[in-house]
Symmetry: C2
Subunit: 524 residues, 2 copies
């Protein structure tokens, strides 16, 4: 960690301050990048065709049949590329979405890295998607939808002519960016290296998870059961977006995450709001009061002890954060935010704290389907992000205690008729599977090697982030494999990840391929 | 009004205290009821077949094409029964759902009444409906769905055999109870009278509205333009449920109603809750705080001046309310309510106050479709019920002022990019068309005649209610026609009116037919 500032300076002035030895490395890296870029440019259409077929497979983690199709598709992609020992790593139960594994042994290599991405996607509400509500029918747009990007046909291949895509065009589909884009970047980077006659600098293992968006409930089990197979000198995680400035970034930590669902109960059957309104308590009114009690107007969480366990960033990490170009003003303009939460704190400072976010709320209907009723229940989906020091179970316990303190009888199931008559306020609280935060020291040899490699693949100064706002189950790699992780995202920051109209800008895919070419051939 | 207590006593002890003259009337009424009951019993299958065909027509007020089909169907129903001068009464615009009108002139009659029901229904969310999500495919159940009522085939007609329905069975479909059931009861009561060789005691006009559930935005206009055609000695409104005890009721007033929709804005595109959670304000969190500020934990509305305009019930009306059998304990058990709003007040007392109800609330998704996002907006549909003294525009202005006081910039449209960057809190507030409350004195001759007629059609003591919790645009009849209204509901109280799985118990339809037989032949 003490080398952090030096390292950051190194990375910032990489081109200017390189030694003779690093100059040779740099020159070699440039040559490889150039070769692999030529290969990719000649094969854009094949890459996109395969990507489209992959995106056309629905991939929500709880849809076992679809997940199995994705896993088969992925196995075939890996076999086609000559990756060896390909196999599905399942858990103990048949409905566990399997991780898809493969490996490449490199002659003379002394180190082994595992490249990780996930092939499952966030749940979808098709009605919210543009282009006919089909999240699994990939479309090409001339740019970002909210900036007027229009749907165009994928270019047709003509015999003898190379198909060239406009790099500003984007593919829209669930998982285009999160995280089938990551899978496709890794496998095509490998392809480009091999087809260009280059040799990876390390043994490479591939590990593609199938339930990351469901909170990775079986990942620990899979890692533990395959400890020998997964032996390595570190994991490189490909997930998430690059920096809002468009610069590539290397991320050395992530927040943890756990989901909760709170249901508050009203009358047993929906009621006419005229005949009973004012007398039968409205569950939506109860829920809004409960949720309002959890945060103040600056976004500070009022749940007792919510910030108690937080391990603050070290002074060095804070310095690193201050060195990062801050996207705050850009993001305020881009998102239409007049006043962010946090009473003046920077985005990156706020991301170093645990959060409580309403993912969704629902009671009866609004808009054209709204009717004059007292709803029978009101539901809120919450998302708690965790930082170092937080434990996901302890954090949800605090929220549960808060609900109890607001006078609720808390259950993990529907109330019985007797309970409804006994308790005025009843909440069903369901806790999803969660995981804790993780951080790798910026001075770890793997982190240093990856930062150098990614910088070598970029014309701009890259961004090094001690911890990302988003989450990945990286603490499981520490816990079960005692292994180090470094995260290298590739998606555009405005990718609508987790929401409708998710998309990947093609330039980011091409850059991502080059990033992973650099990583697979890095000195480590 | 001073005759109220006496009148109530009269109605309660009707059978015991009747005079010789009323005995003759009673005897005549009994004979008519018996004759028309025989007719109905012989024709149950034809009545239900027609009702099913009627319910199979979708009837949401903003769906012009479907509304036109309903109006045609209704015209045909009326013509088939020999009702004269049938016609559609439209507004000035072509997309106004027409009222369907017809009349019967009775030889020697000196009085004229208009019978009102509405043929449009509340909006539906098909996904919420049992039986395959088809609100317009009527099904027969052996009882209430929430008490285990099961779907059975409608009985088949066999040559020469009379089809008899179990009166406890229920028809499930949108508008079964609210209010196509009312239309069908009125038209079949007329049929039964005529087919039994009886003559109505008055001229009868029929007026079936087509946009009551949309807030009757054009009713005033239709009434005004057809003042001469609609000349009468009073209107009888058939809508709403009978008393929770199962007793028939006559209602002399209704609350007014106005809907509002509040949209609070978040980031311009949906965001990953990890990468931005804690910094980009969540519109659902803003909305819950805003809504929570509107009511306290006893359900009291905290909007300034909300109760200021209320014209309280007179002491006589309060006495009448106290005389009504109170369903509070029954409803608490039936609905699973441990502690009603209102700090101990009775249901009927609470219904004498204006209300603010959350009809629905929505931001992003919950359940299986929930994703880890900061939503772009959060929406709440509100329903304000009004009592005598309230004005619907003044009441919504109070709520708007409350929103302003909470620090919101209030618009009636989407914010521009500039506004988003200028104002931290932006709410779009849409006010639907509304109408005020109405009350007819219990001592009005029409009210007295109707109470006596309905009592004569019932074996139990009926319930007389000064004002219903629900709403009907009755003040428009006063305003545009200077006419009096009395409301006679027929639906079972547990009919899921306005919600999914709306239903009508057949016994209530049969009783409703008899109620309107009594009204059409009453002494007035």
């Amino acid at each position: 960690m003490k080398n952090l500032v030096l390292m950051l300076l190194c990375s910032i002035f990489f081109c200017e301050c390189c030694t003779n030895s690093s100059f040779a490395q740099h020159s070699q890296a440039s040559k490889i990048l150039s070769q692999t870029r030529t290969y990719r440019q000649a094969n854009e259409n094949a890459i996109i065709r395969e990507f489209r077929d992959f995106l056309a497979l629905p991939n929500i983690a709880n849809d076992s049949a679809s997940i199995a199709q994705n896993a088969s598709f992925l196995l075939a992609m890996m076999k086609k590329r000559g990756i060896e020992n390909v196999q599905l790593l399942g858990g103990t139960k048949s409905d566990v979405p399997p991780a898809v594994y493969g490996e490449v042994r490199v002659k003379g290599a002394t180190k082994t890295i595992v490249l990780y991405a996930h092939y499952d996607g966030q749940p979808v509400n098709p009605l919210e998607w543009s282009s006919g509500g089909k999240p699994f029918a990939p479309v090409l747009r001339t740019g970002a939808l909210d900036k007027g990007g229009e749907v165009i046909e994928f270019p047709a291949e003509k015999a003898g002519e190379k198909v060239v895509f406009n790099p500003e065009h984007r593919i829209y589909a669930r998982s285009a960016s999160d995280d089938k884009g990551g899978v496709v970047a890794i496998l095509n980077a490998f392809d480009a290296i091999i087809k260009s006659g280059v040799q990876p600098s390390m043994n490479i293992k591939f590990f593609f998870e199938g339930e990351e968006e469901a909170g990775s409930p079986h990942l620990g089990d899979i890692l533990e059961r395959n400890k020998a197979l997964l032996k390595s000198d570190g994991w490189i995680i490909c997930d998430g977006p690059v920096h809002q400035s468009g610069k590539k970034q290397v991320v050395c930590g992530v927040r943890g995450d756990v989901g909760m669902e709170i249901t508050v109960f009203g009358p047993k059957r929906p009621l006419h709001s005229g005949h009973y309104g004012n007398w039968v308590p409205n569950p939506a009114q109860k829920l809004v009061s409960l949720l309002a009690s959890m945060k103040d107007s600056t976004g500070k969480v009022l749940v007792e002890g919510f910030y108690d366990d937080v391990v603050s960033f070290s002074e060095e990490e804070r310095t690193a954060i201050r060195s990062i170009p801050h996207p705050d003003e850009q993001m305020k303009r881009e998102l239409g935010v007049a006043k962010p939460d946090g009473a003046g704190a920077l985005l990156l400072e706020m991301l170093s704290l645990p959060s409580l976010n309403i993912n969704g709320i629902r009671a009866a209907n609004v808009g054209a389907m709204a009717a004059n009723v007292i709803p029978t229940q009101a539901v809120a989906a919450l998302d708690l992000r965790l930082v170092l020091g937080n434990d996901w179970q302890r954090q949800t316990d605090k929220v549960k205690r808060h609900i109890l303190k607001q006078g609720y009888y808390v259950l993990d199931r529907e109330p019985t008729d007797e309970e409804r008559l006994q308790y005025p306020n009843i909440a069903k609280v369901r806790i999803n599977s969660g995981y804790n935060a993780q951080r790798t020291p910026l001075s770890h040899p793997l982190a240093k090697a990856v930062i150098q490699a990614v910088q070598a693949s970029s014309e701009e100064t890259i961004v090094v982030v001690p911890s990302l706002g988003g989450s990945l189950p990286l603490y499981l790699f520490e816990k079960y494999l005692q292994s180090t992780t470094v995260t290298v995202p590739i998606a555009n920051h405005d990718n609508n990840q987790h929401a409708e109209n998710e998309n990947l800008r093609l330039k980011n895919l091409w850059n991502g391929i080059e990033t992973f070419v650099a990583i697979m051939t890095m000195k480590f």
